[in-house]
Amino acid sequence: MTLDHLARLEADSIDIVREAVAESARPVLLYSIGKDSSVLLHLARKAFHPSRPPFPLLHVDTTWKFREMIEFRDKTVATLGLDLIVHRNPECVALGVNPFDHGSARHTDLWKTRGLRQALDEHRFDLAFGGARRDEEASRAKERVFSFRSAQHRWDPKNQRPELWRLYNARVAPGESIRVFPLSNWTELDVWRYVDRERIPVVPLYFAARRPVVDRDGMLIVVDDDRMPLRDGEEPTPELVRFRTLGCYPLTGAVRSTAADVPEIIEEMRTATTSERQGRAIDHDQHGSMERKKQEGYF
């Protein structure tokens, strides 16, 4: 008897989650409500069963997430009896920062990057789990599983701690922290196969449905509420679409699809010709933008 591919990925990730908790004083799980967060949360529950995961969830909210995401978040937390911290950058709340008036880059920097740093500082978390995977983006492919951050939350990609075997070094001085990525070695397809096998609930936005869509600058934007200013000639039209990743609704492109459940998504992926982050406006703001954002503290 040996472990199959998914079972081995699962065991590796559980190993990572346990090491992280054992080696830190105040861990937290960055919960972004997407499928990767759902898998990460599932693994964290498995790692400590029958105990509950010994850390809270942190959602860095931008007020621009899809409504279905927030509903799903609140239902998940209530069902599983978990602690959730929701942080909204108070400066952004006061200024009403949004992607239309301030642009996607500043919107993301202020709400997410700075919001995250505020929340980590406020609660003095010394270790934060994230659901990022190395197959997502070129600079992520370079990142350690246990990734050191300075007291200013900066990542220094040219000077990462060597990470040999499964001997993760989570030691930090006060103020410094570690970001831990238990899904580093998973691919998008692995995530969906695991969601299927373990029957993990995910936000319904991943499944195809008729949604009000405008085609803006080559992206299919689902108009989730009436805060989105429509340009001349734009008229939301119902189309059968779904999402491969989830973020702020004005910045996340949908794809035309008929995949209405997880097996159909997996089947669709076999023939996909574009990557999942293709629908993320913030990755394309400027060249090397993910590396730059990560250096500044973005997840």
């Binding site: 008897m1 040996t2 472990l3 199959d4 591919h5 079972a7 081995r8 699962e10 065991a11 590796d12 559980i14 190993d15 346990r18 090491e19 908790v21 054992a22 529950r45 498995k46 790692a47 400590f48 069963h49 029958p50 105990s51 509950r52 190395r134 197959d135 983006e137 070129a138 600079s139 992520r140 492919a141 370079k142 990609p157 040219k158 990462q160 701690r161 060597p162 990470e163 040999l164 075997w165 499964r166 001997l167 070094n169 030691r171 930090v172 001085a173 580093s184 070695n185 691919t187 996909a272 010709t273 574009t274 990557s275 293709q278 090397g288 590396e291 730059r292």
Partner: protein
């Protein structure tokens, strides 16, 4: 055969390893349209192939790598063919980034080493093969790349293959396969090329799909590493951890190591339900029949075939940090799920990767490999690295910066540590302290040469002696005439100098004395070591604070003048660093106090700390 292969690619700068990985992804149809579009745009902008697709840009994802056209850190790439899944770690070739190469190699089972057919087997090639074999990789494919640039010459390929094969016989490898390729043209990478009709062997991808790297057997003796004690309530106590080797079964008789208690596995708990058995690699929670005292870092092992437990080993070390490995310095080591104090002895030798010979060494520098006897503060369950990577490996961590500074692989246990047991003595430190009527302690004076340490320490001792305390003063210069006369002033010797003095001071504390130590002791690490050798509250660090300019002006022994003239190498403050204490217990400013006043201040400070 395992359906997952983890392999590394390595080679010198410009050998084209990133290109090769890009080619593998491209030809396995694993590149998405938006990736290809981005690649096409990048290739025009910063590519090195005249606007054609430059696959290196797929893996060199950091801005600095793209700008300089080199690989700095490991990139992990995932792909699958019908035969197998792959995790490819593309590792940097340059010696400066060896630590990143060993990071990739430590979890890999096979290596693809690239070289440029025009340049042949280089020092780097040998170095990569050597490191790969040292890290436990037993299967190497040598990709003789850029064969297009030598006209697909069979003679060139044969000569390089023969040279490498001969070198490789002296490494610990099971298999070496040489493949003639052109990553740029895609020859013998995925498909065969017409350009090499003389070659009948495998393509690189075919080799990756078929190489059998073995793996652990299900009937190996079980080793289960405890990571976390799982206690949700008073009724449940489980050990959450990982099966490192063998199969864990309910009913197994196990030994809990290093404590060596016996028990039986009664449940294997997972969120999906209890299991009867958990194969190698499983992350589960084990419940034992008995109330044993097991904690994080312990190993549950087959009762009739347990691993060894020891605290001293011969090990191979790879040094990963700019600050040298200093023999005797106190580091931390993470081994399994345990972090413990660690020191290395003087290296037995440094491995010369060119000659495969042994060179003498007093320290290990960044990217050097050496063999040394090493000591852990506490005994650990272990297996030699050859048998079990998980229980045979450790990383070395700097106590002050928390940086991962070294990596180690256990060769074997030093019998000495198993056979030399600490003798239990009846008359102990407490008994002596009672007889003396005062507590023992170490008063450690640190500061630059000429700061006034010895003068002040002498005055402090006179005061304490007059009060009837049992004291002893260990003076740097005096000790160097006797116990430490074999030591010089290099960093490594300074560490050993302080280590010996700290040990002597600790013995004298056991003997019940107030030990005054007057040593420059320039490094924080060694002062921390001295503090660690005695009990909490028995150590007082006195910083005799004198600015360099003042000490140099005083220059009572004329040493600064000599050092400035270049007649005295490694002089603290001039060409050797002094790391001032960040939080000394007592600080005396000798620019503001006379030696007598400073001594008074120290005695008052000691009284304040309850030490005299």
């Amino acid at each position: 055969m395992d359906d997952l292969l983890r392999f590394i690619t390595c080679g010198s700068v410009d050998d084209g390893k990133s290109t090769l990985i890009g080619r593998l992804l491209y030809e396995s149809k694993l590149l998405y349209a938006d990736h290809l579009a981005a690649l096409a745009a990048d290739s025009k902008r910063v590519g090195t192939r005249g606007g054609e697709l430059d696959f290196a840009l797929l893996v060199d994802g950091l801005a600095a790598e793209r700008e300089q056209g080199i690989t700095i850190d490991v990139a992990y790439r995932f792909f699958a063919t019908r035969a197998r899944r792959f995790i490819a770690a593309d590792t940097p070739g340059h010696e400066r980034y060896t630590r990143n190469m060993v990071t990739g190699a430590s979890t890999a089972d096979a290596a693809v080493i690239l070289l440029d057919a025009r340049k042949g087997v280089l020092r780097q090639t040998r170095r990569h093969a050597h490191l790969a074999s040292l890290l436990g990789i037993r299967h190497i494919a040598l990709a003789v790349n850029k064969l297009d640039l030598v006209g697909y010459s069979r003679e060139v390929f044969d000569s390089i293959s023969a040279e490498f094969a001969e070198f490789a016989t002296e490494l610990d490898l099971d298999e070496v396969t040489c493949v003639p390729v052109s990553a740029a043209d895609g020859v013998n990478v995925v498909g065969r090329g017409e350009q090499t009709p003389w070659y009948a062997g495998t393509t690189l991808l075919r080799w990756l799909e078929s190489v059998d790297v073995g793996g652990t057997a299900a009937d190996d003796p079980v080793r289960f590493l405890v990571q976390w004690v799982n206690r949700p309530d008073a009724d449940f106590r489980g050990y959450s951890g990982r099966v490192l080797r063998g199969t864990l079964r309910t009913g197994d008789r196990v030994r809990v190591l290093p404590g060596d208690q016996l028990s039986t596995v009664v449940r294997i708990v997972t969120m999906g339900g209890d299991l009867a058995e958990a194969p190698t690699g499983s992350s589960v929670t084990a419940v034992l029949a008995d109330e044993v005292d097991a904690s994080r870092g312990d190993v549950l092992a087959a009762a009739d075939d347990p691993p060894g437990v020891a605290d001293a080993f011969q090990a191979h070390l790879v040094w990963l940090h700019e600050a040298d490995l200093l023999p005797g310095r106190h580091y931390l080591a993470k081994v399994g799920a345990r972090t413990t104090g660690f020191t290395a002895d003087l290296p037995k030798y440094r491995v010369d990767v060119d000659s495969r010979g042994r060179a003498p060494a007093k320290v290990l520098r960044c990217n050097e490999i050496g063999v040394a006897n090493v000591h852990f503060e506490a005994p650990v369950p272990y297996e030699s690295y050859r048998v079990n990577r998980d229980l045979g490996s450790f990383v070395v961590i700097d106590r002050l910066t928390n940086a991962t500074v070294g990596a180690g692989m256990i060769d074997f246990e030093l019998r000495r540590s198993a056979n030399v047991r600490r003798q239990h003595l009846t008359v102990d430190k407490r008994a002596r302290a009672e007889r003396n009527g005062h507590r023992p302690c170490v008063v450690w004076f640190t500061g630059l040469s000429g700061a006034g340490k010895s003068t002040i320490a002498d005055l402090v001792e006179q005061t304490l002696h007059a009060e009837g305390r049992n004291t002893f003063l260990l003076d740097g210069d005096n000790v160097r005439h006797g116990l430490n006369r074999d030591l010089g002033f290099t960093d490594a010797d300074r560490v050993e100098n302080i280590r010996r003095v700290a040990e002597v001071a600790a013995l004298m504390v056991d003997a019940g004395l107030i030990v005054l130590v007057s040593f420059i002791s320039p490094f924080r690490g060694e002062r921390a070591l001295a503090r660690d050798l005695v009990a909490e509250g028995e150590f007082c660090e006195v910083f005799v604070d004198t600015p360099l300019a003042v000490a140099e002006q005083r220059d009572p022994k004329g040493l600064y003048a000599k050092a400035r003239r270049g007649e005295l190498a490694n002089f603290t403050g001039i060409d050797s660093p002094y790391e001032p204490p960040e939080h000394p217990d007592i600080r005396v400013d000798t620019t503001a106090l006379t030696p007598e006043d400073a001594a008074h201040a120290v005695v008052a400070g000691l009284r304040g700390l309850g030490l005299c």
